[in-house]
Every structure is written in C-alpha cells, then in structure tokens.
C-alpha cells in the first residue's frame, strides 16, 4: 500500500494534512519560525485580532495547573490593520493556508472586521472567536440568539470560509453549534478554553492579574473530546477539534469522534516538535490500520 492520503478539504480550505495550530498559541505565524516548519502544518490560525489594537490583561497572565495551563491574555493584539499591513505579506507565500481569527464586542465591530479582511490577500478562512466579552454578562458563545444574529449580519459580507469557534462553558454545546450551522457557518471550531481560577494562598489573592482565566492543555482533553463527539452527531458542517491534543493518539481520538481537522495549542509550548510527531503518528496509524486516507477515520467510531 502506498502512502495514505492526508489531505483534507476543510470547508473549502485545502490542507495538506488535518493539523492546525490553535489561535493565540502560534502568534502571528512568524514567532515559531526557528522551531517549527510551518510547511508541515495543515493550516495556521492566527492570534485573534480586534478592530483596534488591545493591550490585554495585566500580568501575571499564565499559571500552570495539574496537566493544564490557565491563561488570561485578554485579547492582547495588534489590531486588524497592523495584521494586514505587517503580518500578512510575510505569510502569503508559505503555501500553508492562513486562517484569521477575529474577536469583537459588538456586531458592528465584527462587520467591520469582516469588511477589512474579506478582500485581503492571502487569507484562506476566518475564525470567529465568540469567547470575547459581550455587551451583557455573557460571552457570545454562551448566547445562541446573539450568536445567530451576529452570523446573519456577517454571513453575506464574508466571502471566505467562516469557522465559528465555541466556548465549552455552556449547558448544551449542540444548541449553539446547531444555530451556527443554520445561520450559515461553514465550520465549527471546538473548543476554546474553560473558565478557571487559581489562588495564591500565601498572598490570598488570585494568581492571575485578571482574577480568572481559561484552562487548556491535557487536563481538558476528555471534556473537549466529548463536546466534539456531541457536536459532530448533530451538525453536518465540518468540525476542527482541539483541547489538550498532546500526541498523535489524542488527535486520532478527536478524528474518530468526528473532527475533520484538529488543532494543537498548549502542546506547542512544551514541545514544538509536536507538529511533525502528530502528522507522522496519524500517517503511521492509517498505515497500520489499513486506511487509505485520513478521511476514513473521521467519525469512524464503533459502538456508540
């Protein structure tokens, strides 16, 4: 048998393999250049940008927890204009699809962001980060009605594949995933970090400058996997699964649960070689199990 086919057409984005890097963990695509060969990646999702540059949260911004990382970066970013001006030109000729992640506080902000980006050169897709603070108490990802409205306002304006990234801190993730599909999302990205907290018992203060943060890394993998499985059974659009993928077997678990693509985030921090290891590991798995292409394992779960 020849080499298995690893290519994936993810909502129209042609990827050489199903592995992406998760937004916010790979900066603007250039920071890792000495350590990671981006040509080995299926796609790059950039750090979420907002309309205007943002300073983000006060430090400390990160703290380790058992098998996890709690972060409160707070959308620190250079803004969409600087992204287009300073970063995209260098990324255009990599041959690896670039997905721009965007965040906003109002529908108008999202609309403006889409307008900025939809004609920019060298972008293969847009990821909507719905975990940004909303007008109300909740984030958009926790409010299916508001998320639906947002999608109605931007769908027509956006000519690029539109991936909606959801938060796991909801009662029923399939509800909002369903709404997004209905309102025209091309794909779903699951999951963003889980809200969490750490306290320094000596100072009796929260460890993070922002008091609370988001938990990522291997600790949350079982939770992320369940959400991907739940969502993949109700939507038809493709899903990119993430949350604690640390090695090839994790990536394969997500694909068996139904994810057409997977992303690594936190794992990069401890092991920049993870990209090559996972791609190789998936290939080996396909060979060992007699699959001709990676698409054959997507959702290929017995007895559930």
């Amino acid at each position: 048998m020849g080499k298995p086919d690893l290519t994936v057409n993810f909502a129209g984005i042609k990827m050489r393999n199903p592995l992406m890097v998760a937004s916010g963990t790979f900066g603007y695509g250039e920071e890792y250049e000495e350590l990671v060969d981006v040509k080995k990646l299926g796609a790059i999702v950039l750090k979420s940008v907002t309309l205007k540059p943002r300073q983000g949260n006060p430090p400390p911004r990160i703290v380790e927890t058992p098998a996890g990382l709690l972060n409160a970066i707070g959308l620190h970013n250079i803004g969409v204009s600087a992204l287009i001006r300073e970063k995209l030109p260098g990324l255009r000729n990599l041959g690896t699809p670039i997905i721009v992640s965007i965040g906003g506080e109002t529908v108008e902000e999202f609309v403006e962001l889409i307008e900025f980006l939809t004609d920019a050169e060298g972008i293969s897709g847009i990821e909507l980060n719905l975990s940004c603070p909303n007008i109300g108490k909740r984030i958009l990802a926790q409010d299916p009605a508001a998320a639906g409205k947002l999608l109605e306002s931007i769908r027509k304006k956006c000519r690029l594949p539109l991936i909606v990234k959801l938060s796991p801190q909801v009662t029923d993730i399939t509800e909002i995933a369903g709404t997004c599909e209905e309102k025209g999302a091309d794909a779903i990205s699951l999951i963003n970090s889980f809200p969490g907290m750490a306290i320094d018992i000596e100072t009796r203060k929260p460890v993070l400058g922002n008091t609370t943060g988001g938990l990522t890394g291997p600790a949350i993998k079982p939770l992320a996997l369940k959400m991907v499985w739940d969502v993949c059974r109700v939507v038809k659009i493709p899903v990119v699964g993430m949350g604690g993928v640390m090695r090839a077997s994790d990536a394969i678990e997500f694909m068996l649960a139904g994810a057409k693509a997977i992303a690594v985030g936190t794992a990069l921090f401890s092991n920049p070689d993870i990209i090559e290891e996972i791609v190789q590991g998936i290939e080996d798995y396909l060979v060992q199990n007699g699959f001709a292409s990676v698409s054959q394992i997507v959702g290929n779960l017995d007895g559930s």
Binding site: G24, G27, P58, P59
Partner: protein
C-alpha cells in the same frame, strides 16, 4: 531538540551547574539569552523552564540554576549521559557597547548565572563586578571574574564573606566614588529596581535581566509580558521572552513588578 547532558553537579547548596553538549545555533548566542528546557516527559510540569546561558565553550553550554520547584528539582536529578530536551538560544540579550570607558555588573544571588557569560564579551578599561548573596557559600565565580580582568567586590547578607549587607547598598556607595559608563544587573527584582532607580537618578545607562513565568518562550503566546513605559508616558506590555529578558532599565515599570 535533544542534547546530551555532560555534567550536572551541585556547586553550592541547592545550586547546580549543568554542562550540555553544544549545538549549532547556540554557538552564536548572545549574553543574556536563555534556553528553554523540558524538565519532564510527563505533564508535570507541563511547561518548559527558562534558564540563562551561563557559559559556552568549545564543546559545552553551561547552565547555573537554583532548585526552586518541581522543574528545577527534576533537572537536578538528571544524570550525565541522559538527553535533555532543550531549545535556544532565545530572547533578546544584553547590548554590549563596543568599548565604553568602564562597565559595571551587579549580580544578586542566582543572578550570577547570565553575567559570567556577559563578562566574556565586555571590553572596557575598567571592569567592575559587585556580587551579592545570602551567605558566603553562594558566592560563585569570583575567580572567573578576576581572570577576565574584573575588579570584584562581594557582599553577603550574613556577613560570612565579603562585606555584610545588600549588594544594592554597596552599589550606591560605589557610585559615590565612580561613575561607570554602563551598568548591567541581574538578580531579584527588588535589587534590579534599586539599581535601576540609582542609575536613573545618576543618568547612567542600565540594562537589567528580568524573569517571569513563560509558556511559549518565543513571543507567540503573550503570556510573559511586563509593563513598560513609552516615551510619551503611556505604558505597553512587552514580552520578557522575546523583547527581553534584558531590558533597558529606564523603560521598565518597576511599580508594577514589586
């Protein structure tokens, strides 16, 4: 990248020196840059640990580190012959001025780690180093500095060796007599702040190496930022791993760090 550990010895109570087989990229490292080390193959700890480059010779990179928590503990248990998962050099190191008249290094505690490497690069008519530590046993590499042509003065908190007192006080006294063209400082943030304040008052350029928790170590995650001042008085967050770890002392927002 996996490199072979050549040696790993406790050189003072709780302080270890590790030698690691050299690799290509590290040979062009600048003083003040760091390496990023995975201390465990499990998820405890999950993140790498940053350690400054302590010395580089023809076949090995040396690190000098203090056992603080789980990561450095695991590191201290590694044996020569084992492979270490190490990345680097990373970060923005010291700016070495071509040949100022005089240079001064102030090192507190384990802050001595990066400055010995720095000392190799400094060329000046007068070279002075002030070293401070809790107790005499922890004063490391006095001789090495001397060999490199430095005048060395030492303080210890308990007075067991050198002068009794804090190295920051020694530094202040020193400035009454002499004015170095440039000051490099490493050590606990309280020390750095005092040195920075003193230099600020006297108008002496000062570079400091700052520590912070890191995740990516390459500038991608924005997890390691500290607050810094812009010329217009506004503040922005800069990344210790990429914009630092060495900063011009005058831009650091010291209030935010103490």
């Amino acid at each position: 990248m996996k490199q072979e550990i050549l040696s790993n010895e406790e050189v003072a109570p709780g302080i270890f020196r590790m030698g690691i087989a050299i690799w290509k990229r590290i040979q062009s490292a600048c003083p003040g840059q760091f390496v990023h080390i995975r201390c465990s193959s499990t998820f405890e700890p999950l993140l790498r640990r940053p350690l400054s480059i302590h010395e580089i010779d023809s076949n090995e990179v040396k690190l000098l580190y203090k056992v603080i928590g789980s990561g450095t503990k695991l590191l201290s248990e590694k044996k020569p012959g084992e492979k270490l998962d190490i990345v680097g050099p990373l970060g923005h190191g010291f700016n070495v001025e071509p040949s100022p008249e005089s240079v001064m290094i102030v090192a507190g505690g384990i802050g001595a780690a990066p400055v010995l490497f720095l000392a190799h690069f400094l060329k000046a008519a007068r070279k002075q180093v002030l070293i401070g530590a809790r107790t005499g046993e922890l004063i490391l590499y006095e001789e090495e500095f001397k060999k490199l042509g430095f005048s060395v003065e030492v303080t210890t908190d308990d007075g067991s060796y050198g002068k009794k007192g804090l190295v920051s006080s020694l530094f202040e006294e020193f400035l009454k007599r002499e004015t170095p063209a440039i000051v490099y400082a490493c050590g606990p943030v309280a020390l750095l702040k005092e040195v920075a304040d003193t230099c600020g008052n006297c108008g002496i350029p000062c570079q400091v190496s700052i520590e912070n928790q890191m995740a990516c170590g390459v500038g991608a995650c924005l997890g390691c930022v500290i607050k810094t001042k812009e010329k217009d008085g506004s503040t922005i967050y800069r990344r210790v791993c990429k914009d630092g770890p060495v900063f011009d002392a005058s831009i650091v927002s010291w209030e935010s760090l103490i």
